[in-house]
Every structure is written in structure tokens, then in C-alpha cells.
């Protein structure tokens, strides 16, 4: 859908939480993909002026250029809650969100650096007492105190939900890709540093972090103890065994049997 097609919602204040991402191939800092999609989703609802961007974390020059990537989407300013790397950013974000008065907070499903557990939106929603929906593909409409959204399910499926506002929502790869970030607005945009309280993340202090170990997907589990069975399990071709075979039926009767199974499995919509 072209973003121009969506009606802008008047009077709605939207905030997007953004983080510094990491390019999967080169590891260079960038705007995080899911976060950028969240911003894009916000821009489908409101004009850039009514969209607040919020980042909690450090603001080194390298990270700054990544954060400017969000400004390059046409938004004038980004608030940076200055937080050291070992801080728990949730209290700071919560306080800031309460101050801002946003009714809708958009978040990428998870970050691309650090723990990236995807917990922040859940903790915020819990603390703020707001609605939460995850995995949004699209916000279809916002109407007063609620909004209608499409939630992405696995296997490309979609579900329509009605969500009471205020709400925190998370966005992942199912949502529309973020618009290109433009150099001019990114350069001009303002990074507003906000000093705030710092809560140390004590729990994470004892963690060991290492580069991810490659983990090939499981092949077959051959449990059999006997050599013959291990042999057979490897060399035999896939056979179900015990299936129902219907012969001598009319095509209609065959079709009915199939239809019954399709209905039972719930794949027929």
C-alpha cells in the first residue's frame, strides 16, 4: 500500500522507540530494521510533526549517525535519553512516555544489539497499564479510543484485532518496509539529549556474551539402539504407513473425504 493512501489520524500522538541496529553482514551500525518499520507504521498514521522518536542509550558519534537514519525518514527531532550501556532503560523510558502523553507507542519487535530480548515493550505496557499487541503488520484505522490492526501470524496469515488505546505495539518483518532515509533531513534533524535517572541493570552483570555459535538445523533423530535399525532409519525412504487409502470411490466421495480432513485441520478458510 502506498503511504499516501492512508488517512492521517488527527490529534493522535504517536511515539516510536528506536534503537541502534547492526547490519547483519558487516555489523555496521544502522537504523534497526524492525524499529524503522515501526516508525514507518507511525508515519502511515500521523504527520511527521506528530510523531516522536525516543531512544534510550548512549550517543557516541558512530551511534549518532545510525540514529540520524530515523531522522532521515522526515522527522525533525529525536529524543535521546542518555543512558550508559549497563543501564536498565525501562524506568527511564516509562518516565519519559508518561511525560510525553503519547497514546500509541510503536516498537520494533526486538533490537539488533545487546540482549535484544524484545522485552521492553512488554515491560512498558505492564508498567503503564496499557494494551499490548505484538507482531503488527498494519494499523488499519484509529477511531477514538481504539484502533483496528492486522496482526501477522506465521505462514503469512493475518488476523484482525481491535485494540483499546493507549497501547504499546510491536512490529516485525511483516510490516511495511521503512522508507528510504534521506541525507538532508538526517543531517538537519535534531538529536535532543535528555538527561535522566539511570537504573543499573544488575541482573545482566554476570552474563557471558560471545559471538553466536552456528547451529545447523536438526536433521533426523536416529534413536534406535540396534545397528540394523539405525541402518534402516538412514537408508529407508520416507513412508507414513497406516494411512487411509480410499479406492473405488466416486470423485465426489473422494473429494468429500479430503474436504473433511481439510476442515478438521482448519486450513480451509
Amino acid at each position: 500500500m502506498r503511504r499516501e493512501d492512508i488517512k492521517q489520524v488527527q490529534g493522535l500522538k504517536v511515539a516510536a522507540l528506536v534503537s541502534v541496529g547492526r547490519h547483519p553482514v558487516t555489523g555496521r551500525p544502522r537504523r534497526a530494521d524492525f524499529d524503522a518499520r515501526a516508525v514507518e507504521m507511525g508515519l502511515s498514521l500521523v504527520a511527521p510533526e506528530n510523531m516522536s522518536l525516543l531512544h534510550a542509550g548512549e550517543c557516541s558519534p558512530e551511534r549518532e549517525s545510525a540514529l540520524r537514519g530515523y531522522l532521515g525518514m522526515g522527522i525533525g527531532a529525536l529524543d535521546v535519553l542518555d543512558q550508559p550501556p549497563e543501564a536498565d532503560i525501562v524506568p527511564a523510558l516509562e518516565a519519559r512516555l508518561r511525560e510525553m502523553g503519547a497514546r500509541l507507542v510503536l516498537c520494533g519487535a526486538r533490537g539488533e544489539m545487546g540482549e535484544a530480548s524484545g522485552l521492553v515493550p512488554f515491560l512498558l505496557a505492564e508498567r503503564l497499564g496499557w494494551s499490548l499487541v505484538s507482531g503488527l503488520a498494519q494499523i488499519e484505522s484509529v477511531d477514538g479510543d481504539s484502533m483496528t490492526v492486522l496482526q501477522a501470524l506465521p505462514r503469512g496469515q493475518r488476523r484482525r484485532l481491535k485494540v483499546r488505546l493507549p497501547a504499546v505495539v510491536t512490529v516485525d518483518a511483516a510490516a511495511q518496509a521503512a522508507r528510504q532515509s534521506a541525507y538532508g533531513p538526517a543531517r538537519r534533524g535534531e538529536l535532543r539529549r535528555i538527561e535522566g535517572e539511570v537504573t543499573p541493570d544488575a541482573a545482566a552483570r554476570d552474563w557471558n556474551t560471545a559471538p553466536a555459535k552456528k547451529r545447523p538445523k536438526r536433521l533426523k533423530i536416529v534413536k534406535a539402539a540396534s545397528a540394523r535399525d539405525r541402518f534402516k532409519a538412514a537408508a529407508a525412504k520416507a513412508e507414513g504407513g497406516g494411512g487411509q487409502v480410499l479406492t473405488g470411490l466416486s470423485p465426489q466421495a473422494g473429494a468429500e473425504a479430503i474436504l473433511k480432513l481439510l476442515r478438521e485441520e482448519g486450513v480451509l478458510r
Binding site: E115, L153, K162, T209, A210, K237, I258, L261, E265
Partner: protein
């Protein structure tokens, strides 16, 4: 039925006397007991039925005794048992010392492979100390029959329509009830977009517990999970709540458990319902990637009416797949090829139309839950693999399916 027994004492006598020249012929004629393996033909040439040699011995194994001392009669009662699968060890835990709770996704009411891996993990945690029990918490209408084999000691099912579909707030309240009642030592959730990922995080936030997410390994009281979008591994003390990835452990294979149902907490506090499920939205099946399609209609050599096939896919809302032959013959594009040399698919239902089932193809559909075959050849490998096979003309069955579905939809519309 006439229960008067007819007898032919002479034949019986010959049958008993294996040295009688007509012994085998009589046995063959009588048909009872072991069929004769050889007898004299009318032209004075020995006739043999090599298929009739031997009999099933007392161990259920074919036995040949050329001395004739033993014959079928002796082992007549023997059953074939050799084929039976090795029995699993039964484990019952009467009074659980503690619980490891697993909140399974159970798509369609059955355990997913991911769920089974989690149960395997739960089993490890439960078995680390005596009388630890695995508690499965499930929602909606359960259709799984193999919970005991999957390693479940106790099942706590929240049945009822209100738990179906997307009801995270209600489910959260329910889990809260379980927490108060049973206080499991650990809570395990599949970190999957099917629901576990969200429910687990909600629950952790509700309890104020810091969970470990994207966990793929638990060992020695520590767990390792992915961080930084899969780029790093974070190892830490095992927390109470764990959201684990597929293949975090091997599913239970050696034991079978009670899977005894226990009652859910009687009264749950009223959940605040801020999210309402308005139902599924139709999506274009052609837009769904073959590898992740839920429902695939796949075409092979047996398809002659290609328009009919495409129409069937459209009407059924299935993603289209194809066998290699259909692709090589130019009827389907290369990216639609299913199999070890094409795309591996994971559909919940794989409906194969006119595919005989080359070994590469069968390999590629290994992970499909239900395979349905339409084929004219009852002996083909696809039919052997299928959970349901209809032996009939593929085009006709598809046409009938289309008619049934469209007819049904029309009725619904008229009724509405």
C-alpha cells in the same frame, strides 16, 4: 452358518501320513493348516509351490523344517510380534515434588515439533531431581493423543471458547492462577511467533521475573540464548521463566508418562479485555512463500487440466507446489518445485495431486503434518506416504472438490 463339521477321514489319514504319495496334494486340496509346498502333478512331474515352504514358528518367525517333524499346526497359535515397536519405559510420578510448567503452542490442538522439544527440555529439568513432574498448560480444545509419549506428567487444560483465538489477557490470567496454585519451579514457553513468544513475555512482565529468551541450550543450571538478533550468545544462570527456541532439546523418546489431567484453578479473576479478536483475514495464498505455506496443493505428472488445477488452488486457498516432472515439462515455474532438489516444505496439509512420489519429493515433504494424495495408482510411493489417499482420476477429484467448496460457500452466503 452350518456348524456340522464335514470330514474326510481318508484325506485326514493321508494328511497325517507324510510318507503317503498323495500327502502333499491332499494337504494342498484341504487348504487347511499349512499349504503344501510340493506334490505330484497329474503328468507325473513334481509340482512345487515355493511360497508354501515353511510355517510361522512359535516365535512369530518363519520356520522351515525339511524333516517335516514340525509343521504349521505346532505354531498355529503363534502371533507375529517381531514387528511391534520396542516398548517405552513407563514412568509415573504419583506425588510430584515440584513442577516444570510448559505452556505449549499446540496449533490445531496438537503438539508442534517445537512444543515437543520444549517438553524434552522440561523433562531434563524435572528429572534432575526425584519426583519432578512436567506440567503441560494448554488452552482450547485439545486433540493431541500422545501427551504421555511426549513426556507430560500432568495436563492442565483451560478449555472453552473464550481461550481460543487471540486471547492473551485471558490466558495471562489463567497462567496467574496456575502460578498461585502450583508455583512451578520453572515456566517454559516456546519462543515462537505462534504465541509462546508473546505470552511468555507478557507473563514474565506480569510476574516481574526477568526471563531468558531465545534460549537454545540449558546445561548445568545455566542457559544460553541468542542475543543481538541472533549475532551473539548470552549465557546466564537459569531463570524461572525461559523462552526457548526450537531444537533446544531432543523430544522425549524412551519413556511414556501419565499425562494425567488436573483441574484448572476454579475461580480466575476477571481479565481486563483490551484486545478483541475480529478473526482471520483472507490472504493471497500465492503470496505465501512455499517453504512456509500452511496448505499446499501440489501438482505432478497426473495433472492434465492445468486451468482446473490453478482454479482448485484458488478456490481452496492453497499455495501451489509442483513435482520436478511438472516443472521440467514446463507446466510450473522452477521456484514452485517441492522436494530435496527444490524447496523443502513444512505445510500442515500437503495435498498432492497426481504425484507418484519420487524419493527426493518425499524427502522434501517430510516435515508436513498431513499428506493427502490423489492418484490413480494405489501402489505409488506417495500413496504409501499419505495419511489419506484417494485413488481416482486427479482432475475429477479436484473438480469435485472445487464444486463442493464453492457450493458450500454459496449455501453459507444464502443462509446469511
Amino acid at each position: 452358518m452350518n456348524d456340522i463339521v464335514r470330514r474326510d477321514p481318508r484325506s485326514e489319514w493321508i494328511a497325517r501320513n507324510r510318507l503317503h504319495p498323495e500327502h502333499d496334494a491332499v494337504l494342498a486340496r484341504m487348504g487347511g493348516g499349512a499349504p503344501a509346498a510340493q506334490w505330484m502333478g497329474p503328468n507325473g512331474v513334481i509340482r512345487r509351490d515355493p511360497h508354501a515352504v515353511g510355517f510361522i514358528g512359535p516365535n512369530g518367525i518363519r520356520r522351515i523344517d525339511r524333516s517335516g517333524a514340525q509343521s504349521a499346526g505346532a505354531g498355529g497359535a503363534a502371533r507375529r510380534e517381531a514387528a511391534a515397536a520396542p516398548a517405552r519405559r513407563r514412568v509415573d510420578i504419583d506425588t510430584p515434588a515440584f513442577f516444570i510448567a510448559v505452556v505449549a503452542d499446540m496449533p490445531g490442538g496438537r503438539l508442534s515439533a517445537h512444543d515437543r522439544d520444549l517438553l524434552g527440555l522440561a523433562r531434563q529439568l524435572a528429572d534432575a531431581e526425584t519426583d519432578g513432574a512436567v506440567l503441560l498448560v494448554s488452552f482450547g480444545d485439545p486433540r493431541e493423543t500422545g501427551l504421555g509419549e511426549a513426556g507430560v506428567d500432568r495436563v492442565l487444560n483451560f478449555a472453552g471458547e473464550q481461550f481460543e483465538g487471540y486471547a492473551p489477557e485471558l490466558r495471562l490470567t489463567a497462567l496467574g492462577g496456575v502460578e498461585r496454585q502450583h508455583a512451578p519451579r520453572h515456566w517454559l514457553f516456546p519462543d515462537s511467533p505462534l504465541g509462546g513468544a508473546e505470552l511468555g513475555r507478557r507473563f514474565a512482565a506480569r510476574l516481574g521475573e526477568r526471563p531468558a529468551t531465545q534460549v537454545w541450550q540449558i546445561a548445568d543450571g545455566r542457559c544460553t540464548g541468542r542475543g543481538a538478533a541472533g549475532a551473539s550468545d548470552i549465557t546466564r544462570e537459569l531463570p524461572r521463566i525461559v523462552l526457548a527456541l526450537p531444537e533446544c532439546a531432543e523430544p522425549v523418546a524412551d519413556t511414556v508418562h501419565a499425562a494425567e489431567a488436573i483441574a484448572p484453578p476454579a475461580a480466575l479473576p476477571q481479565a481486563l479485555r483490551r484486545v478483541e479478536d475480529l478473526g482471520a483475514v483472507a490472504v493471497d495464498p500465492a503470496g505465501v512463500a512455499l517453504a512456509e505455506a500452511e496448505f499446499i496443493l501440489s501438482a505432478g505428472n497426473g495433472i492434465h487440466d492445468w486451468d482446473g488445477f490453478h482454479q482448485a488452488a484458488r478456490v481452496l486457498g492453497a499455495t501451489e507446489g509442483a513435482s520436478r516432472v511438472a516443472v521440467d515439462n514446463g507446466f510450473m515455474p522452477r521456484h514452485r518445485q517441492v522436494g530435496a532438489t527444490g524447496t523443502w516444505v513444512t505445510a500442515r496439509v500437503y495435498l498432492s495431486a497426481g504425484i507418484s512420489g519420487a524419493v527426493q519429493h518425499l524427502q522434501g515433504i517430510q516435515q508436513c503434518d498431513k499428506v493427502v494424495a490423489i492418484n490413480t495408482d494405489a501402489g505409488c510411493d506417495m500413496v504409501k506416504r499419505a495419511d489419506l489417499a484417494v485413488i481416482a482420476d486427479t482432475g475429477e477429484v479436484l473438480a469435485a472438490l472445487v464444486e463442493l467448496v464453492e457450493g458450500g460457500r454459496k449455501e453459507q452466503r444464502n443462509a446469511a
